[in-house]
Every structure is written in C-alpha cells, then in structure tokens.
C-alpha cells in the first residue's frame, strides 16, 4: 500500500531534481550567452518545482488520482510490450513484423475473450493481418516511408 501523500511526493521530487539539474547546468555551462534564456526559465522552473515539492511534502498537492496498484498491474504487461517492441522488435525483426507482433500481443493481453477460445484466436489473427495490411499500404506504398529492416521486414 502506498500512501497518497508519498505517491504525490515521487513526481514532485523527480521534477524538483530535474529543475535543480537544469538550473545548475544553465548557470555553470559555457558559453554564457547560449544559456541566457535557459537561466531565466530555470529560475521560474526551480521556483515552481520547489513550491510544488513543498506542497506535496505538506500533503497539499494531491490533485489527480495517482497510480493505484490495480492500474500499475493492468498497464505493466502492455507497457512491457511497448518497450520490447520499440527497443528490440522494431529493429531486430523489422518494423512491420515487430508491429504485427506488438499489435497481436496487446490485443491478446487485453482481450476479454478466454485465451483457450479458438474463435477468438482466429479473430485476433484476422484483425492483426488486416490492420497491418492497411498500415503497410499507408506507410510503405503511399507515403514511401523507409522503415528499418531487421531479420524480416
């Protein structure tokens, strides 16, 4: 169980840390002229981040639903598919094959139909092939986008 206040402290601390790094870099990096505008902005950035951090620490910044454990549990498989797709599959297997696998994986993971249902599998395969055909037609044939070719295409 994560308390709401500590949950809100996590983004507040992260943003405060980022703003501090931005301010430090803006005031220490050379040439100074190139960092004139970053310096002005970083002062406001740091000030607002400090204010937000203080409010979060006092339990006053609780706007939004936070990230309940149920949400984390639900998004974890989908998020993993996204990351594997973008960082490994797209380059390793090829953009189109990687996309088809990612599409099918997300569809299967979040489809309410049982995994053992053969008809549901047939539907998943048909929808994936149809969708990827449209994407191929749109990006490869119409827009002539050169996508990375991995083991397949």
């Amino acid at each position: 169980m994560i308390s709401s206040r500590s949950q809100h402290l996590i983004p507040a601390s992260a943003i405060f840390a980022v703003s501090a790094v931005v301010a430090w870099l803006s005031f220490t990096q050379e040439p100074a002229d190139a960092f004139l505008f970053p310096r002005v902005i970083s002062v406001f950035f740091l000030g607002l981040a400090g204010w937000n951090f203080t409010r979060a620490a006092l339990g006053l910044a609780r706007v939004g639903d936070g990230v309940p454990r149920r949400v984390l549990k639900n998004i974890a498989p989908g998020l993993s598919v996204m990351l594997i797709f973008v960082f490994f599959l797209a380059g390793g297997l090829g953009f189109y094959v990687g996309s088809a696998l990612a599409f099918a994986a997300i569809y299967t993971l979040y489809d309410p139909a049982p995994v053992s249902d053969l008809r549901a599998w047939r539907k998943r395969i048909v929808v994936t092939v149809l969708f990827m055909t449209v994407i191929y037609g749109l990006f490869a044939l119409l827009l002539k986008v050169q996508t990375p070719r991995g083991f397949f295409f």
């Binding site: 169980m1 994560i2 308390s3 206040r5 949950q7 983004p11 943003i15 703003s19 931005v22 990096q29 050379e30 040439p31 002229d33 190139a34 004139l36 505008f37 970053p38 902005i41 406001f44 950035f45 607002l48 981040a49 204010w51 937000n52 409010r55 006092l58 339990g59 006053l60 910044a61 609780r62 706007v63 939004g64 639903d65 936070g66 990230v67 149920r70 949400v71 639900n74 989908g78 998020l79 996204m82 973008v86 797209a90 380059g91 953009f95 996309s99 990612a102 599409f103 997300i106 569809y107 993971l109 979040y110 309410p112 929808v127 969708f131 994407i135 827009l143 986008v145 050169q146 996508t147």
Partner: protein, 504 residues
C-alpha cells in the same frame, strides 16, 4: 472580402478529396471514445509532410472540425462523450435516444454544430486580418511576452492545479531548449544521442497525446465494460430542421457563448458546451425539462462546441497563441511547414491562410451532410473493442513519429515523453501547457535574444522589456491569468488540509 478570391483552392480535386476524407475520418475518430480531437490531429500531422502546406492544413482543419462534432454521436447513442467537448451533449442527447428520438437528437446535434461552426469560422474570417495588422506593431519584447502569455494562460486555465499547469509549461520550455543553440551552436541539455537534434515537435505531440491515451485504455484491464448502442429509428431531416429553427434562442446562446469562449486562449470546447448548456437552461421557459431529454440542451451544447473551433484559431493565426490544445497542435503543423502565424501568414502566404480558412467553412457544411448520413455507422465503429483501439493507436504512433525524420531516436523520444506524461497526468499535470511550452519556447527565446541585443544597444533589458504601454499590458495579462487561476484554484479546493493520505 479578400477571402472570397481564394475559394477556388478549396475545390481543387486533391484539396476537396482531403477535405472530404478529413471530415469523414474526423467524424469516425471523434465518435470513438478515447480518441480526442487533439490526438487525432497530432496523429495526422506526419501524413501532411507529403502534401503542400495548404493541403496539409485543409486535412488538419477538417479533422479538427469534425472530431468535435463526431463526439456527439457516442454522447447521444452510448452516453460516452467522444471528446470532453461533448459532455454537455450527453446530458439530454442520451435521454432523447432512450426515448426513441435518437435520430432527432443526432440531426439536431449536427445541424446545430454546422450553424455554430459556420458563425465561428465567419468570426475567424473577419477578425483575423484586423488582429494580424495590429500584430505588425509588435516588436521582439512584445512577441516574447505573447509567447510567455500563451504558456501561462493555458498553464493556468487548462489545468486542475495552477502550480502544476505552470510547471508543465516550464517543462515544455526546458524541453524546447534541448539540442544545439541556434546562435552560438552550443550543446544544451543533450543527455542522450537521440536528443542531439533537439526534440522533434511532431514526435513529442504524438507521444504526449497518443501514448497516455493508450495507457489509459489498457489501465482498465482485460474486462472493460461493454457498451450497447441504442437503435436509431428514421426521422425526416426537414422535421429536424424545422425544430432547430423553432429553438433559435438556444442556438443563438450556444453560438454566442462558443464564439466568446473560443476567443479566450486556453479555455476550450468542454467549457463552451457546459457554459452554453447552463445559460440556455437559465433563459429557457422549459428549464425544468433540461436533463430529461430536451432538444434545447443538445442544440445549445453542440452549437457552442463547434462555434468555438473558428474563434480558437483567431489568437493562433494572428498572435501565435492557440485557443485550445488542438489549436496548439495545429500551430505545430504550421511551424513545421515553415509558416509563422501573424502578419507574415497573411502577407506572404495568403493562399495558404485563406484557402485553409475557407476550407473550414466548406468543411462545416460537409460535416453536417456526412454527420447526418453516417452517424449510425460511426456509432458502430465506436464499439470497436478497446484492446484493438489501444494496439492500433500504439502502432500508428510509432509509425507516425518514425516517419517524421525516419529516425528511431524520434520514436524513443515519443515513447519516453508519452509514458512520462501518462504518470504526470495521473498526478494533476497537463499535456496542453507542456506542448505550448515546447512549441512557443523557440519563439520566446528568439525574441528574448533579439530583444536583449536591442536592449544592450539602448536603455538596458529592464526598460526594454518592462516599459511601454503594450509591454505593460501584456505583463498585466500574464499576471492576471496567473492570479485569476490562483484564485479560482483556491475557490475550487478551499483550505486543502494536510492529512495522512489513505492508501490508493
């Protein structure tokens, strides 16, 4: 009446095809719960690279107009607003559909949207050139304050928390500075190879608007509740048209409220619909019937949210300040085509500006025709299962961001920003001010540097940036927008007491 001479451009075959495609596609996307107009426009931007600037803007403008109206279909038939702008429509629209008047509600919604939309675009046509000429008097200091005003207004008005809204704007400004400095060529905040060329605006827009929605869709898990659409019996269009003319009061209230709200940067369609609904109820002799399936509610809400579209582009096209988050995405679309809003747009690219604006006028009429005849079909598409929708948006987002510069670096940036924004939104941060910061950052910096050079040669930066009627007026607007938001934030959350949080 300069705009009349550019009407021909709208009816060129490719332009007309894009207008029809954008309108039909927008209606379907708008009717799809979870796909906001902003995201639809952001996902379409990569497709505009292969078009001329005019054609690209026609496509984006058509999608903007029709996604707002398309959201009414699911609001009426499924009680799920396709976009936040359609929340007020669902209040009476769904009740009408349940009472067997679904077709009547859809007809009234599209006819009212079309009327409001046409008036909104006429305001855009007649107000924009006047403001654009006025914008000629702006020097670097004024343009700097205008850019800052754009960020603070949306940051403070479009967010649940004004501190977090302004902070989102600051994050956007910082992100805009990543990469090589334009004047000195110095490296700034480059922490990874993918950031060497700076953050690509389109990849960022796709990530910030599409990925959080994908994650929101899958956050509901495997067993998301299924929805059932109401069957729509047929209704004669002339009867609906007659009913609309009998409710001219609600139509006028909706149109006036929508037009005024659209002109105020950062306020957006959601507020337009709700304020118009509330005002129409106050002025109606049948105010007790509101919320029970009363046509006046649908007419007021829908005329308002489409009347907002045209005026929301007035501050964008003249002063580079978008009136809504979707207008902010359109600004990105303009800038990547090398077109800068303001007097430059109307002096050097009148063909682009006027053909785009005229296409929005024609688009309103097309939207009414297609909306009425395809509403039932669009509602069927809205029932596409959430996992398919989430997977499709993810793949489109990856392909869209890759195709901008054919670079995997843009895909990494898109995903990182999108995932980060999903978590930030859950803690009350907002994507709109962040996007504004990212888009207006380079404009603010260029004018700040130019202004500083002038100031060095004259009276010093304080005097240059903080004196003069226009400078003081703009600074006052910045302060007022922040103060107003601070006050309304306090009123909304009176004395939020610190307390030990409960488990979430």
């Amino acid at each position: 009446m300069e705009f009349l001479s550019y009407f021909g451009g709208v009816f060129e075959p490719v332009a007309l095809l894009l207008l029809i495609g954008g309108t039909m596609g927008g209606l379907i996307l708008g009717a799809t719960p979870g796909l906001s107009p902003t995201m639809a426009v952001a996902l379409l931007i990569p497709f505009t690279f292969h078009l001329s600037p005019t054609q690209g803007l026609i496509l984006l403008g058509a999608a903007y107009t029709s996604t707002v109206a398309g959201g009414a279909v699911t609001a009426i038939l499924l009680k799920i607003p396709g976009a936040p702008a359609n929340i007020a429509t669902a209040l009476d629209g769904n009740k009408m559909a349940k009472q067997g008047h679904g077709a009547r509600a859809l007809h009234l919604s599209f006819l009212a949207s079309g009327f409001g939309g046409v008036i909104g675009v006429l305001i855009l046509i007649f107000l924009t050139p006047i403001l654009a000429v006025w914008a000629l008097a702006f020097g670097p200091s004024h343009l700097f304050w205008m850019a800052i005003l754009g960020v603070t207004v949306i940051g403070s008005l479009d967010s649940k928390s004004f501190v977090k809204g302004l902070l989102s704007g600051c994050i956007g400004l910082w992100l805009s500075m990543i990469g090589y400095d334009d004047i000195q060529g110095a490296q700034r905040f480059i922490f990874a190879d993918a950031l060497t060329g700076g953050i690509n605006i389109i990849a960022a827009l796709i990530g910030l608007f599409a990925i959080p929605q994908v994650l929101e869709m899958i956050a509901k898990g495997r067993f998301a509740a299924s929805v059932e659409a109401i069957t729509v019996p047929k209704q004669r269009i002339m009867d609906s048209f007659r009913e609309l003319t009998q409710n001219i009061r609600s139509l006028s209230i909706g149109t006036v409220v929508g037009s005024i709200v659209g002109l105020i940067p950062g306020v957006g369609g959601q507020i337009a619909g709700l304020v118009a609904y509330d005002q129409a109820r106050k002025f109606s002799p049948h105010r007790d019937k509101f919320g029970t399936g009363h046509p006046e509610g649908v007419i007021a809400a829908e005329s308002a949210n489409n009347a907002m579209v045209g005026p929301s582009l007035v501050p964008l096209l003249t002063l580079s300040i978008p009136g809504s988050p979707t207008a902010a995405v359109l600004l990105g679309g303009l800038l990547i085509n090398g077109i800068f809003p303001g007097s430059d747009l109307f002096e050097n690219h009148p063909q682009v500006a006027w053909t785009f604006i005229n296409s929005m006028l024609v688009g309103q009429i097309l939207m009414v025709i297609f909306g009425i005849y395809t509403a039932a079909w669009a509602a069927r598409i809205a029932r596409v299962p959430t996992p398919i929708m989430a997977a499709a948006v993810l793949v489109l987002a990856v392909f869209g961001s890759y195709s901008v510069q054919q670079s995997m670096g843009d895909v990494y940036v898109m995903l990182a920003l999108g995932v980060g924004m999903f978590f930030l939104e859950r803690f009350g941060f907002s994507a709109a001010p962040l996007v504004l910061g990212l888009i207006l950052g380079p404009i603010a910096e260029a004018n700040f540097i130019q202004g500083s050079m002038i100031a060095d040669a004259q009276s010093g930066p304080w005097q240059y940036f903080l004196t003069g009627t226009l400078n003081l007026f703009l600074v006052a607007l910045v302060v007022l927008s922040v103060a107003y938001s601070f006050r309304s934030n306090k009123a909304r959350n009176p004395a939020t007491k610190p307390s030990r949080g409960v488990a979430t």
